[in-house]
């Protein structure tokens, strides 16, 4: 953790990390850990590029190329944040429950702004349903358990992945009454289609990349 913070990334490396985070978030059924440091650095990078462009000579061809690059980066960053927001909205009771029951020592999956947004969204939805319907129902039916009412992310959905760091004995199917445990070795560079639940920790650690 400390090593990561001191690592200085070149702009190219930073954008590469952004793209990896973006793809992981896009293809994962679950909300992943928020890469706030990457978001911060990319925003700084965009600001830096904008300032450079203001200073450049008008009509310089570099401007066109840099503008294109900036639009690309802005698209990836926006798409990354949108993916996250969509999942936060879709699974809000479970995400907020996870956040509520998180021990103080553990880092949050959400950025501070996302926590605020999630809480406002939840409150907005719940008061909406109360006002329009629940309050007008018979007394014993006015309660709504949002955690039960809203679906959870489907961790058993299948995802495509590429292996970045070789893994041995990855559990594919746990042992049940009918079958023995089924494990595989994941070679570096190989691509697989697997159930997300089984490789979720590997996505979090960066050992595999969702594609």
């Amino acid at each position: 953790e400390d090593e990561e913070e001191e690592e200085i990334l070149t702009p190219a490396q930073l954008i590469h990390k952004l793209e990896e985070a973006w793809l992981n978030e896009k293809f994962s059924p679950d909300l992943l850990e928020c890469k706030s440091e990457i978001v911060e650095c990319v925003m700084e990078q965009l600001d830096h590029m904008e300032k450079n462009l203001q200073r450049a000579k008008k009509g310089d061809l570099k401007i066109t190329v840099h503008r294109m690059e900036m639009e690309r980066i802005r698209y990836v960053l926006s798409s990354y944040l949108r993916s996250r927001l969509q999942k936060i909205e879709k699974f809000f009771p479970h995400i907020l429950e996870k956040e509520r029951s998180r021990p103080e020592t553990e880092p949050s999956f959400l950025s501070a702004q996302e926590v605020a947004f999630a809480k406002e969204y939840a409150s907005n939805c719940e008061s909406h349903l109360k006002k329009l319907a629940l309050k007008r129902m018979p007394p014993n039916l006015q309660a709504l358990d949002v955690i039960k009412a809203v679906a959870k992310p489907n961790l058993d959905s299948f995802v495509f992945l590429r292996v970045k760091e070789k893994q041995e004995n990855v559990l594919v199917e746990p042992e049940t009454g009918d079958q023995r445990e089924y494990t595989v070795d994941l070679e570096e560079g190989s691509q697989h289609l697997m159930r997300y639940r089984m490789i979720a920790p590997l996505v979090a650690s960066g050992a595999v990349q969702l594609i």
Partner: protein
């Protein structure tokens, strides 16, 4: 038959394809809530009767009415929640200001929900970083080409673009701009 009205509400939404928002069915909701009230009151009286006179043969009817109540509740909430999700999509599709034809289909409470959602979203986007944050409702598609073709409909004269270059806009001429 019970719950028919509420299922009709759901069908109304099913028929509106492409995430379109039909007008809010105030009357439909009211009718369903009235049905729920009637079912509940009938159950209250039957429960009292069953308790005081120990009549167990009322119990199946009580259970049946309770199931209808639960179904009505579930369907009403589904109707309202699905509309809410469609309204949410409208923010992303049209921006902060919705066309009036669409706004007329909102219930007052839905307008309130929409306004609150807009506010939360704006607060979130401002806080993303940098001076003004990032408007993530823009850049919805990957950038394809930096230039677009523009045809001038009227004589405008000279026009200065963001990057400082000027373009001469003459009627019917076509120009590639950023």
């Amino acid at each position: 038959m019970f719950c028919e009205k509420v299922v009709e509400l759901i069908r109304e939404l099913q028929r509106a394809t492409d995430g379109q928002l039909p007008p809010f069915n105030e009357d439909g909701i009211r009718e369903v809530l009235e049905e729920m009230k009637a079912l509940y009151e009938q159950n209250q009286s039957d429960v009292n009767e069953a308790k005081s006179e120990e009549k167990t043969d009322l119990i199946p009817t009580i259970k049946f009415r309770h199931c209808c109540l639960l179904r009505n509740k579930r369907c009403i909430l589904a109707y309202l929640y699905d509309r809410m999700l469609r309204i949410r999509s409208l923010r992303w599709e049209y921006g902060s200001v919705l066309p009036s034809e669409i706004r007329f289909h909102f219930a007052p409470e839905e307008t309130e929900w929409f306004n609150q959602y807009k506010k939360s979203l704006a607060t979130y986007m401002r806080a993303i970083g940098g001076d003004e944050g990032l408007d993530i409702t823009q850049d919805m598609k990957p950038p394809k080409s930096l230039f677009i073709e523009v045809r001038c409909l009227k004589d405008y004269g000279e026009f200065e673009i963001d990057d400082g270059t000027t373009v001469l806009l003459k009627k019917n001429s076509q120009v590639r701009v950023k």
